[in-house]
Symmetry: C2
Subunit: 469 residues, 2 copies
């Protein structure tokens, strides 16, 4: 097991590159984030001229800091980084994380040489380097973060990400859908700590139950292959490869200097090892939710139950197109359902699969009994429920009642349950959905924004499981 644990628990952090004139990215990201997360270790600022910044004492150089420094965040100009590195070696710093860009990713001789120089100083001086051209470490347990608005709570997803911006996107997107992270590392140009070493770490990290990664390329394909193999043997691994088209590969090369290799090679590697490959961050979050909350599914036969006739038609079309099977329910089951939803109460209901609970879906007791009845049927492998976030007077009460009923019923249901929570992009609906998505995640119910995303993710989830077995 690689000894990277310490990089997630620095007792002291020094930031070089904060400015007296914000907005400056170093202030905006690191200073804000560490302050707002309430980082409890020693926090030092390094600035050649300032004596005080944001109420923190400032030192002219690393060497002037009185105590030891575990972790240095460098956001100074690229040409000044070798000097910073030498001071870090002299000071006995353990990890230098370089936010600074302008190295090998420029494709120019000067930047390539500079990156080599830094790596060489670090190797000789026994200092580890994260980056350059990266955002660094997010570890909620240690109150270490590079973005103030990341979730404060810890979770069980470990994330290695070659792109800082993409880590920003995925953590917020996942956060809003109820995903929480054990540790996230944005590692940029990977001049020292690279994707393989991080995979090795996450494979053994007991806090991490699902490993996800965004990778643009590798400089050590053999080590990465071994690491991926070990990782998938231990845990679900979901990968988004940046640069899967010729044009995309060209862009990746100028982004992190990645040696991308052919897409066919990557895809067949992922396929062979049972790594789930996804192509955007919505797909990534969809898959995470399934791995976090559901056991492997026994097959593709879905029982659909929700509110809305037209919606039921589209649900059936889309689920079928994406490889799931929607078989009509047998007479006996339909009779049980009809007893729960008599025609006299609502002639708009339907009981054949999909079960359209129609307006009765807003009566938690009726919905609960119908859902439990569907979940008890042995002709299906799982249940997919669906509801559109209502709008206007009473909407919140109605939807909360419905979701509470779903969560309660799920506890005693015989089958795995996932949910589609449609919404309309209005602030009101987004707000309602946000709270309920998080509530469902805590109750172990994966929530998807569309049938499209739900069905594709479920089908991919089954495929991946088939390959891993």
């Amino acid at each position: 097991m690689p000894d990277l644990e310490y990089i997630f628990h620095p007792k002291s952090i020094a930031i070089a590159g904060a400015s007296r004139n914000p907005p400056n990215p170093v202030n905006f990201f690191y200073l804000n984030a560490l302050t707002q997360f309430g980082y409890e270790g020693e926090l030092y600022l390094i600035h050649p001229k300032a004596s005080e910044l944001s109420g923190l004492k400032v030192y002219p150089s690393i060497m002037d800091v009185p105590g030891p420094i575990d972790h240095v965040i460098g956001g100074i100009r690229a040409s000044l980084t070798p000097q910073l590195m030498r001071e870090c070696v002299a000071k006995g710093v353990k990890l230098v994380q370089l936010f600074t860009a302008g190295f090998s990713e420029t494709g120019q001789e000067k930047g390539i040489r500079l990156e080599k120089e830094i790596a060489e100083i670090a190797r000789r001086g026994n200092v580890r380097v994260l980056g350059p051209n990266c955002m660094g470490i997010y570890c909620p347990d240690s109150k270490v973060s590079y973005v103030a608005s990341f979730p404060k709570e810890s979770g069980s997803v470990g994330f290695l990400c070659q792109s800082g911006g993409n880590s920003y996107d995925l953590i917020h997107l996942g956060g809003a859908r109820g995903v929480r992270f054990s540790k996230v590392v944005s590692y940029g140009n990977a001049s020292d700590i690279n994707e393989a070493e991080l995979l090795e770490y996450f494979t053994h990290d007991s806090q991490t139950k699902v490993i996800i990664g965004y990778i643009e390329g590798t400089r050590d394909g053999r080590r990465l292959t071994n690491a991926l193999q070990k990782a998938t043997e231990a845990k679900p691994v979901i990968m988004l490869k940046g640069g899967v088209t010729e044009a995309g590969t060209r862009v990746a090369a100028s982004h992190t200097g990645a040696l991308a290799g052919s897409n066919a090679t990557w895809s067949s590697l992922f396929h062979q090892l049972g790594v789930m490959q996804v192509y955007d961050f919505q797909e990534m979050v969809d898959s995470i939710l399934l791995f976090l909350h559901l056991k492997p599914l026994t097959g593709r036969k879905a029982g659909l139950i929700g509110i809305g006739g037209g919606c039921s038609v589209l649900a059936t079309d889309i689920c079928t197109r994406e490889g799931l099977t929607i078989v009509p329910f047998p007479l006996e089951l339909r009779e049980k359902l009809r007893a729960i939803m008599p025609v006299e109460l609502d002639p708009g209901t339907s009981i054949r699969n999909p079960v359209d609970v129609s307006g009765l879906g807003w009566y938690p007791d009726i919905f609960s009994r119908a859902l439990e009845t569907v979940a008890s049927y042995n002709g299906i492998d799982f249940v997919l429920t669906y509801v559109t976030v209502p709008i206007g007077k009473g909407a919140s009460v109605r939807l909360n009642g419905h979701i509470n009923s779903l969560i309660e019923t799920k506890k005693r249901a015989d089958k795995p349950i996932a949910t589609v929570l449609h919404r309309h992009d209005t602030p009101e609906a987004a707000n309602l959905a946000f709270n309920l998505q998080n509530k469902c995640a805590q109750a172990g119910i994966p929530v998807f924004p569309s049938f499209d995303q739900a069905a594709r993710a479920i089908n991919r989830f089954i495929q991946c499981d088939e390959r891993r077995r």
Copy 2:
């Protein structure tokens, strides 16, 4: 031209089926909506026992209403509708819209017979029927609506929708993304007014620039084919067919009693006539925005410009996969861009296509000049910009500055411009995106929530145009 205009401008409306014990769908939908829209005609409530409901005077029957009635909304029990219809005939009502379900869509003899009986009374009595099993009419200009939270402003999209619930979803979804409607008709079982007649109406309606439809089936394929042909000759037509799989067709039949026909027939008909076929409501809105705001595109070569390195990689991969072309920019153009974004200012920028404006994208002047430069390049057919909705302190100011710059620059840009506005589903981001989407729509810029949706819609838009020419 069919003489349906009058159904959108009733001078008086009577509602039969409101209850003294809300929540009742008739109160919830029609009474709320007409009240909150400020419907200016006469509004009567019909109830056998109540003398007053929601502050409105109540009449025991249609016949007891003193003045004339243009439009009756019926939400009473199915078995009572023939009597209601007879009274409407006697009263000289022009249109009866039946919310009531329990007719031919049940597939049972009783319901089928009841629907025939109603249609027959209407035909003989010279009353038109909308439905049964439908939501009716939304016409913002006349302040007629069936949902209180629909947009109050009028627009140029005409929408015929066989499913009431789906119309609810599409109008809210489109509304949140800046789409406004001329007239919407939810027509349900189509016992009298059907999809073909509505298409004929929208074809000639000067207020309607784009026609969209959700159809589950037809009982008069020849008339529909003719109507579709004439419609596409006049305007863009976008269709979502409910029931395109065998399982979906079965569900559609029990939803609106639709005779769905084979999917192959529908698809080849749409293809042949140049109707754009979409498969969910997000795709529908994506396509509407393109038809509303962009002229036909000259080809598939995209100039990409936005904020974020990893995002640029994914943008390139996804756009390429969906059939767009991302060619590297020539040296001359790159030099112009480099002069606007000097490396010293931000080493993280990229200028090859995609143009990653990186942190400089938050300086409206720099972004504007870079965008104008890209848009002036003759080697591309259109520009796709992209930005992630930022979160936290100052986010709103920064994003507003960026979008204002986009809108101003668009006015003088040489090429069509569309935008991807990524967001993270947090209430804060949804709120910001909501306002800016509407602002962009007013400025004629289509906004998409993902590269996936943007690229697929643009490719489909070009294909459709190729077929219509």
